[in-house]
Amino acid sequence: MGRYVARRLLQMIPVFIGSTLLIFLMMYALPGDPVRALMGDQAFDPAVVESIRHDLGLDLPIWQQYLNYLGGLLQGDFGTTIGSQRPVADIIAEAFPVTIRLTLFAFVFLVIVGISLGVIAGLRPDSVRDRGLLTLTLVLISMPSFVLGYLMQYLFAFQLGVTTPTVQDSENFGDLLLPAIVLASLSLAYVARLTRTSMAENLRADYMRTAVAKGLPRSRIVGVHLMRNSMIPVVTFLGTDIGNLMTGAIVTEGIFNVQGVGDAIYEALFRREGATVVGIASLIVIVYLVASLLVDLLYAVLDPRIRYA
């Protein structure tokens, strides 16, 4: 078990280097020079552009730039931004806590509400409440997040006046409630449907009949025997969804004015801030890798037949 985890962690190193290289090359391939773009529409002096490029090492060949970057990274230096000259580490340190908070909030909401809805519907397939859930989730799946976002903003902020329309303080969990719900709603529909289907299927399984025949209490049948076996596809989905929630929040972050990772990476991309994009994207790659490792480990918890050597 420990060896398995160690091996997986070691595997992350080449993946990390590979992904930074790929993103680095992609940024390089994009047209548009970041220093030139800083100057904008108005008049400027090409000598200054050259001088800034030289100072930042942007006039070096691409492989040398990458080695410099990687060398800095090994010493914990993410580089500096081109425009504001601030360390990229600062920008990451500002954006990630906000996003992690939002993601965690959305995730908890997603797990609790999504799975409960799925269980309620899955225990009585084809009943009225099951059909009701399927309709509700269908609506959620087909509604783009900006529609839902503006709708919630209109309802809760302008009609009811319960919250402010945008997030005033990203450290306040009350403020983050609305964006977290919007962010979670799409995945919520998937989680509820996955749980429901998986439950409905397993209800007919042999071991369920055995459990009922043994005369086990219903709470134990559902809570242990049924749930544990039905959770595997749901956990797989949830694991990869953590990454999605973190990176896919650009639209939601925009509507509610949350200055998180989505916003930071969009802006960096827009301004061709290579170091910032590579830094954030690499961290997200790590989040994905860790999440998938967690999912694999959780399989063993849920199903004792699965073992890792």
Partner: protein
């Protein structure tokens, strides 16, 4: 089962770790929050400045707003574009070549240091030095000795410009390389602000926490969220703050900022987003702001392209007449622009009635002119634009108008973002025309003519070149007085109608608004809101 148990442990540990990091930031309940407005402060949607807050290193709007609140240069302009002296007592010249600046005495920086002639001269020398990579350094290029501190290539030969001389504490002189009759107008640009001595100790730290001589002093900068400045009681200028301070708040989208203005969480929005434009006047009532300012949008032909190489200007005149500016500004652009009738906006000195129909929609004449001029090669034009700036709609409408009026095919050439768009312009890769925009740096027609259409102008990306027009401009620069220079450039503008280096489309308007909490929100000549005048209720 052993495997399952240790897996539980690992999973549990990671969950705990995640939860701990998430809570780490959230537990600071007692910290002062950015939430809500401070009494007497005015909040406005101004995003994160792109660069450190150094006057000569900022030319984008977000940074400029903050710089303008923190620094005061020698002079400023009123809404009509007339000079108002701020830190200067007077700026005078006999021959347009040597200028004498007298400062008002008793001015101080926010840290108590006196603002002297030396503060200006040292700052300008620092700004101009190529080693310091200041974006606006070329603004000092008129001054004698600039080439020593800012050579085209290599290291500077000197660290001082020979043209700047301190006479006494409140007087200094500026020698220019050549006559520039409108040089005093250039001094109104924020780049010409003075710097205190602390700056030179650590410019980098200063850029994060600037000390200026302006109406507000710096309070704090929470990156990507808020910059806060406080009214400075000892300020001596005419534009002393009527409020207690300003909060520049960063918003991810115009829509989010707009929602906050409507709900009262934000006082002022500079520009209402396209989705809210149709209804903002109802929502904001008296708070809606709609004012024209000195900026222009044009279509600029690339004179190296297949379409426009050695083109007869009549063809471009024809294309200009094929654009139904009135309808497009009213419908597609929601009245955010005013149709252009010349190459300069009305707010600048020297704007004139050109007495021509080149800017009037006339499909028949348009077609005739294009035929007369020999037609458009390939019978097709492209308009290059960047898709991230909300230009797609009007480019499509302009193309539609050209196609319907003249039968010349017209398509948009979309570039994914501004950086890509600029690169294509710089490398002479524009297929036929590009979208050009220009906001006044100083309110004189020269700014809209020389900087755009002189053969050697940096922003002349259409590579328009006409010796006769260059000569006329040189003539204007030799003028004895500002009035003469303006007149000379008016002559140049008349010539431009015949040569058509660009197709002026429309002048900009600011469409913003403010909430009920503030009043007296006015717009200056280049479209910035006069924050010092804003009062809170």
């Amino acid at each position: 089962m052993r495997g399952a148990k240790s897996a539980k442990w690992v999973a549990g540990a990671i969950v705990v770790a995640l939860a701990a990091t998430a809570c780490g930031g959230g537990s600071g309940e007692d910290e002062p929050k950015d939430k809500g407005a401070l009494a007497g402060y005015v909040s406005i949607d101004v995003g994160e400045p792109q660069k450190p807050l150094i006057p000569a290193d900022t030319n984008e709007t977000n940074g400029s707003y903050v710089i303008q609140s923190l620094f005061t240069q020698l002079l400023d302009f009123d809404a009509k574009g007339e000079i108002v002296y701020t830190n200067a007592e007077s700026v005078t010249t006999e021959d347009s070549k040597t200028w004498t600046v007298k400062l008002k005495s008793g001015w101080k920086f926010h840290n108590g240091e006196d603002v002297t002639a030396q503060s200006y001269v040292d700052a300008w020398n620092w700004y101009a030095n190529i080693k310091n990579n200041q974006q606006n350094s070329f603004w000092f290029a008129d001054i004698a000795g600039y080439d020593d501190v800012h050579p085209e290539k290599g290291d500077p030969k000197a660290d001082k410009m020979s043209g700047l001389k301190v006479v006494d504490d409140t007087t200094f002189t500026i020698d220019l390389k050549e006559r520039v009759p409108y040089f005093n107008y250039k001094l109104g640009y924020t780049t010409f602000a003075p710097l205190p001595k602390v700056f030179y100790d650590d410019p980098k730290a200063f850029g994060q926490k600037p000390v200026g001589n302006g109406p507000y002093k710096f309070e704090k900068w929470t990156h990507k969220k808020l910059i806060q400045v406080q009214a400075w009681d000892d300020y001596k200028g005419p534009n002393k703050a009527a409020n207690k301070g300003i909060q520049f708040k960063n918003y991810a989208t115009l829509e989010a900022a707009y929602q906050d203005v409507v709900s009262g969480n934000l006082d002022i929005i500079r520009q209402v987003g396209p989705t809210d434009l149709p209804k903002y006047k109802q929502d904001l009532g008296d708070g809606a702001i709609e004012e024209p300012y000195a900026a222009i949008q044009s279509l600029v032909p690339a004179f190296y392209s297949k379409t426009f190489k050695d083109v007869d200007p009549k063809v471009i005149q024809g294309l200009s007449m094929a654009i139904d500016r009135d309808t497009i500004t009213k419908t597609v652009l929601n009245n955010t622009r005013t149709p252009a009738t010349s190459f300069t906006p009305p707010q600048v000195k020297g704007n004139q009635d050109l007495d021509t129909d080149v800017f009037t929609y006339d499909p028949k004449k348009a077609k005739a002119l294009i035929e007369e001029g020999g037609g458009v090669p390939g019978n097709k034009v492209w308009i290059q634009y960047n898709t991230d700036g909300g230009h797609k709609e009007w480019v499509t409408a302009v193309c539609e108008s050209i196609r319907n009026a003249t039968g010349v095919d017209c398509v948009g050439d979309a570039k994914p973002d501004f950086a890509t768009d600029l690169e294509a312009r710089d490398n002479d890769e524009v297929k036929s025309m590009y979208r050009g925009g220009w906001v006044a740096d100083y309110p004189v027609n020269v700014n809209f003519i020389k900087e755009l259409y002189h053969t050697n102008a940096e922003s002349n990306n259409g590579r328009f070149s006409n010796k006769e027009i260059d000569a006329l401009m040189a003539e204007g620069d030799k003028a004895e007085s500002l009035d003469e220079a303006v007149k000379a450039y008016q002559e140049v503008e008349k010539k431009l109608v015949d040569e058509m280096p660009a197709i002026p489309l429309w002048y900009y308007r600011i469409n913003g608004g403010h909430g009920k909490g503030v009043d007296n929100v006015n717009v200056d000549f280049h479209g910035d809101l006069e924050l010092t005048e804003v009062t809170t209720k």
